[in-house]
């Protein structure tokens, strides 16, 4: 390859891992945040559904006794 061309592109190849790494890290940060939010949302929803159904049973039970 032409040594002048090599000189012109000398920083390109060595920068690739840094540039790709930077883009990956940004997406990883966003993905971790979305993933953690999704897991938390599922946990809350599960807990909420279970509590609501228990509450309904409790209320029904009380009204029957009354």
């Amino acid at each position: 390859m032409d040594p002048l061309l090599l000189e012109a592109y000398s920083t390109v190849i060595s920068a690739v891992p840094f540039v790709v790494g930077a883009y990956i890290l940004i997406w990883v940060a966003l993905a971790v945040f979305v993933g953690a939010s999704y897991i938390k949302a599922r946990r809350i929803q599960k807990e909420l559904d279970a509590l609501k159904s228990s509450l309904e049973h409790l209320k029904e039970d009380r009204s029957k006794r009354a």
Partner: protein, 262 residues
Amino acid sequence: MKTKLLSSNKLVLAVVCIALLLILLDIFMAFFISPLVRGARLSEPVIIVGQMVANKLLFSQKIFYLHVPVALSSFIALLFTAVFSIRYLIKRDPLDDMRAYSCTEIALVFVLATMASGILWTRFEWGSWWVWEPRLTTYFILTLMVLAYFVLRLNIEDADREASFAAVFGILAFINVPISFFVTRIVPSSIHPVIFRTDSGLSSSMLIPFIAGMIGCLLLSFVLYKLRISLKKSDFELQQVKEEFESLYKKRLKEKRVVGDK
């Protein structure tokens, strides 16, 4: 069900799609259409694709197309933290506290993404993982303040006190935003590149992906905000249902005891 997050809201889903498309357009244009910027002078000019090139071509600048939109999104998220914090201090509406809290969470993600991508650029361009340069230093302080916001919230038991202290701290954290933004223009020794200036002369092939990335990141922040605020509302509902359940359960136990005594 109230907590059907993204899937239940068509508007939010549409915004997610537009945001991701814009960011993908930004990345595509950055790598395949925007020209490489010029660095140090070559020993001799060379002709590449019919063009005379007299400088080294810099690929590391490609980080700018997503790093800057992400950094600016962190600033805007903190601006909203301050706005909702002020509103909370005036109206004492818990919803404003939830909004400020959610905005700071978004700010934290974008701050960490900015730091991670910036550190890689610094390592390549300046040959060091960290340089105590004005922009980096002020942004590092900003990062610490955002982290401190969460530490503060986790360490106060009383909900009203937590919200009030966090509101004041959120406003203080925002004060660092204009300082960090303008420091590269104010301090002459700053070596951090300045993007927004009157003579920046970004060509349209560089400006369009940047603007697409900027709008994409802002839309993504909005979606993440909606996601977190919906989570907080559900969590609040959960606490209320828990309290109702506990009080009913206690009443039932008392009734059982009374029947047992009789």
